[in-house]
């Protein structure tokens, strides 16, 4: 966890990629996230998150099909690496631990 810096937005994008599986390309990720977050996202923000995570080794990618809607340009389908799955699991673990610690800790804090 120490060396892997995964930003909050990056984490969201990464999870979306995992969720979308074979459909995980730029615009689809954008649509999915926009729906879930209920806010507008720009192509630039999604793309820069994807590229950054690809450089850090969380994602791999390969060209997919080309559609007319895309002006004959191919999609790039992203997939999470095992390393990414591991990191996501670690993060979840840490967060869960924290959540579990809350009710036990807070009353005592009050007494101090």
């Amino acid at each position: 966890m120490k060396k892997t810096k995964l930003g909050e937005f990056e984490e969201l994008v990464l999870l979306t990629v995992v969720v979308l599986q074979k459909d995980a390309y730029g615009v689809e990720i954008k649509r999915e996230l926009e729906e879930r977050l209920n806010e507008k996202l720009s192509v630039g923000s999604i793309q820069s998150a994807l590229k950054r995570m690809e450089q850090k080794g969380f994602l791999t990618s390969e060209f997919g099909e080309a559609t007319k809607k895309r002006g004959g340009k191919r999609k790039r389908i992203y997939g999470a690496t095992p390393y990414a799955h591991k990191v996501l699991a670690e993060i979840k673990h840490v967060r869960n631990g924290l959540w579990e610690a809350i009710p036990a800790l807070s009353p005592e804090l009050k007494t101090i």
Partner: protein, 908 residues
């Protein structure tokens, strides 16, 4: 609303039929430019898809707008393209490489480089001179805080030659009182000249009678005294610092009373202020100011008062400070309105009955003026002439640039290997272009250093040529910046064509002849450039020859009187002053004759008036001179009939007997000279009436004013009248000398002068020199043009030499083979030189009409009497250039032709 949506849906259908609405082009192009190559396809696709999606919910317009916005938001570091190839390197390295290659190439071709550098330096030195000159001209009067609001009232009556930089005090007062747009009015009454005397010192000063707003209008600094009150009272005098120093030394002059001599308006004054000397960039220059009230009080009660009548529009300079919102045209109209009474008056003489108008001239055109004005207070450089000089300088510089262009194009073959290697390694067109531009700029920077040196050499010569002597033309740091910019521009112009051409070469293409980019009628750029250079040289030489011929013509023109060996001494006093001086001069043995008059004929200055015949049926303007009894004799003017003045006029005696010339008789229909003797004519005075004049003698025609000043009207230019001079007032003492040692005689004249008049400086000049001074402008034009012609021909000869060396070198093998096959020297010379001769002839055909037109329309257009131009004058430029060209080419051809062909061909 319904119909609108209908249209909208139809558009949509139409769009659907077309199947694809594309995103706007230019953001896409931009996107392609900045997105990393590896990401481009994906991102372009994403963008397109998002665009198509947004089309389903938004209008086409909005979708496009969103697309643009999305594109902008793509500008993130991780997506941006990184620099590639050479541009990823520190560009310093490539600069160093270009510099090294340039230096090597310059060194390797020492001959061609020095031809280029010398040519550029010659032309750039003139460019530098021009830059400094323009700087100085356009910085005139910059120190006046209200410069953009200061105007001068000018006067116009009749054609453009009557434009006057002056106006009447009358109009000044009316402007002040009646026009709301006029903030301040200043009257500078002309021709203040007086001798100021303290107990110890006496000096003569020149300046103006200034109204009290002087220091409110101008930003001259008053060092001592109160700027608001200094010029209020009559007799108040403001001195410049240097004049105050001369008169009072280090003591404080403020409030001191001084005696004033030699002035009709006042005899004593009080010093009310000391101001800084006018800076050299002031169009006004003066030594003292006297309050305008001094003149006004003296002259306002005259029957015809210059300070009250609109017809004295030559009396004063009137300056205005306008309000910000004032409209110049409206004020001009109001002035015309103010003059309507005067303009409709019937008692003015016929020839003066021209419509008088006043106009306003803004301060920034006082020196660099679009029109010429008579009696300007300071230096004037006509914009037309300034533009002509800029044009000529530019053409000469262009000519030097063409040398570089030509030689580089010709030698392109030699550089093609280098360019090929660069291109194979991966240089693109722009990089090669840049390299060659840099080479040209480097050369022009070297030339700049040389040209500054040359400039320092020609500067004193140029300053001598100017009639206005207060120019400095010094170089300071700020101007050096401009020179550098100038060198870059020159280098850019010179290097552009070769750089363009060389950068276009493809690595694989083998060149045949680099210079043959076909342009017009199959002539190559090189030939056009050479023809241009020679046409320039030929026409400049022709202009110089024709102007010189005219200058020589006017100097030796038979004016109708003798001027040789006569020294004209200015008389600076009145009363018996003239008699004393004349008597003193008569004692000098070298002096053989003396005579006094008010003007010297033929030196451009003259008094004019109008005269009517006895029955008042005919009228003519005429020029007059007031002379003494010796005048006609001393100047060799012969009487055709009647007699000259025999005895000097006595004080108070009527001087109504006159001597006229034949032209005046003709104008007034007075018949032959003999018939005219004893007839009466009327001298016109401005308010009716007139003096009766009796014709006592008749002389032949002569040139009264000069050969180049066009008089107010051409018909009146030759009519002339001599009257007897007033015994108390003279202006000029003519002294005819006979001496082998002219300098010693002049010294004697000066010594004698000092005895009579210790106050005024001795001002004397040979009559012939005075006349020559009149044509100084033509002499200046001639000197400048012949200098430019010399430069142009040096530059084009250098270029020709370069081309000749190049052609003969590259055709050496051809020449050798021709020789082996039996070609003679004659046929070889013809072969090598016929292209050049053809270009020369074309240049001549272009240059001759251009030069004749320029001389006629621009250089000598103000001359009434013109020298005839012969065939030799027309051909002069052509012949000179042809000779120099043949010598240059012949030298190279000679070297090539006498070479033993075996030496060259043996190695094959």
């Amino acid at each position: 609303m319904g119909s609108y949506s209908g249209i909208k849906s139809r558009t949509k259908n139409y769009m659907n039929k077309k199947e694809h609405i594309t995103p706007p082009k230019w953001p896409l192009r931009f996107l392609r430019f900045f997105v990393k190559k590896d990401y481009l396809e994906e991102i372009e696709g994403d963008m397109e898809e998002v665009f198509q999606d947004s089309l389903t919910i938004h209008s086409v317009k909005k979708a496009r707008r969103l697309y643009v916005w999305e594109t902008v938001k793509l500008l993130r570091p991780i997506i941006l393209k990184e620099l590639e190839g050479a541009s990823r390197l520190n560009s310093y390295g490539i600069f160093k490489n270009y510099l090294k290659t340039s230096v090597r190439s310059i060194k390797r071709n020492a001959l061609f480089s020095s031809i280029n550098v010398v040519g550029l330096a010659i032309s750039m030195s003139v460019g530098i001179l021009m830059i400094l000159f323009l700087f100085e001209i356009y910085s005139f009067d910059d120190f006046h805080e209200q410069k953009d609001r200061i105007y001068r009232v000018t006067s116009h009556s009749g054609d453009a030659t009557s434009n006057l930089a002056a106006a009447s005090p009358y109009i000044a007062y009316r402007l002040q009182n009646e026009v709301p747009g006029v903030d301040k009015v200043l009257i500078l009454y002309r021709n203040l000249s007086a001798d100021l005397k303290t107990e110890k010192e006496a000096i003569a000063v020149k300046g103006y009678y200034a109204s009290l707003s002087f220091f409110d209008v101008f930003s001259f600094k008053l060092k001592k005294g109160n700027p608001h009150t200094a010029l209020v009272n009559p007799g108040a005098i403001v001195l410049t610092e240097s004049t105050a120093k001369k008169l009072f030394g280090d003591s404080d002059p403020l409030g001191k009373t001084i005696t004033v001599d030699n002035n009709k308006n006042f005899s004593s004054g009080i010093i009310t202020g000391v101001m800084e000397d006018p800076p050299i960039n002031s169009h006004l220059d003066f030594e003292a100011l006297v309050s305008f009230k001094t003149v006004e009080d003296k002259q306002k009660n005259w029957a015809v008062s210059p300070v009250k009548e609109p017809e004295f529009f030559g009396a004063a300079y009137v300056y205005l400070v306008l309000r910000e919102d004032a409209k110049v045209e409206e004020i001009e109209l109001m002035m015309t309105e103010m003059l309507s009474d005067y303009n409709s008056r019937k008692d003015r003489p016929a020839m003066l009955r021209q419509f008088l108008t006043h106009r306003l001239q803004p301060m920034d055109t006082f020196v660099a003026s679009p029109d010429s004005y008579r009696i300007p207070p300071g230096p004037v450089f006509l914009q037309r002439k300034i533009h002509m000089m800029i044009g000529l300088t530019f053409i000469v510089i262009l000519s030097a640039c063409f040398n570089y262009t030509n030689l580089s194009l010709a030698r392109a073959l030699r550089r093609s290997k280098e360019i090929s290697v660069r291109k194979v390694i991966g240089a693109n067109r722009f990089q090669v272009f840049f390299q060659f531009m840099m080479e040209a700029v480097l050369l022009s920077l070297i030339a700049l250093i040389l040209s500054i040196g040359m400039y320092l050499l020609i500067k004193p010569e140029f300053l001598n040529l100017l009639t206005y002597q207060r120019f400095e033309l010094d170089v300071d740091a700020y101007e050096i910046m401009f020179f550098l910019l100038f060198a870059f521009v020159v280098g850019g112009i010179a290097g552009f064509l070769p750089a363009l051409f060389l950068s276009r070469l493809k690595a694989s293409v083998r060149l045949n002849d680099a210079g043959k980019i076909r342009l017009l009628f199959g002539a190559s750029i090189r030939q056009i450039l050479i023809v241009f250079q020679f046409a320039l040289s030929i026409s400049l030489i022709m202009c110089a020859v024709m102007v010189y011929k005219q200058y020589d013509f006017v100097l030796h023109y038979n004016l109708g009187y003798e001027t040789g060996n006569i020294v004209n001494v200015n008389i600076k006093g009145h009363g018996n002053y003239g008699d004393l001086l004349e008597n003193e001069y008569k004692k000098i043995p070298e002096v053989i004759a003396t005579s006094r008059s008010t003007v010297a004929l033929g030196t451009g200055k003259m008094r004019g008036a109008f005269v009517l015949s006895e029955d008042r049926a005919d009228t003519t303007g005429f020029w007059s001179n007031l002379i003494d009894a010796n005048y006609l004799d001393m100047h060799g003017i012969e009487l055709l009939a009647g007699s000259g003045f025999i005895t000097p006029a006595k004080k108070g005696e009527s001087r109504n007997k006159v001597i006229v010339n034949r032209e005046l008789l003709k104008k007034l229909n007075l018949g032959s000279p003999e018939e005219a003797i004893g007839k009466t004519i009327w001298f016109h005075t401005s308010h009716g009436g007139g003096d009766r004049l009796l014709i006592q003698g008749v002389v032949g025609d002569f040139i009264g004013i000069s050969l180049n000043v066009r008089p107010y009207s051409e018909e009146s230019s030759k009519a002339f009248m001599f009257r007897q001079k007033d015994p108390d007032w003279d202006a000029i003492l003519g002294v005819k000398i006979k001496s082998t040692d002219v300098l010693a005689t002049m010294n004697k004249l000066e010594e004698a002068y000092k005895k009579i008049d210790p106050v005024h400086p001795f001002e004397a000049k040979f009559y012939d020199d005075q006349i020559a001074d009149l044509y100084k402008e033509q002499k200046t034009t001639y000197t400048i043009i012949s200098f430019l012609a010399f430069l142009a021909i040096s530059i084009s000869t250098l270029g020709l030499l370069g081309m000749a060396v190049f052609t003969t070198e590259s055709r050496m093998k051809e020449i050798s083979i021709r020789k082996v096959l039996g070609a003679g020297i004659r046929s070889l010379s013809l072969l090598l030189s016929k292209g050049f001769l053809l270009m020369m002839c074309i240049a001549g055909l272009i240059a001759i009409p251009v030069a004749i037109y320029t001389v006629d329309e621009m250089l000598l257009s103000n001359f009434l009497y013109r020298a005839d131009i012969g065939v030799m004058d027309v051909l002069s430029g052509f012949v000179i250039v042809l000779l120099i060209g043949i010598l240059t080419i012949g030298w190279q051809i000679g070297k090539a032709v006498v070479q033993n062909p075996a030496d060259l061909l043996r190695d094959e």
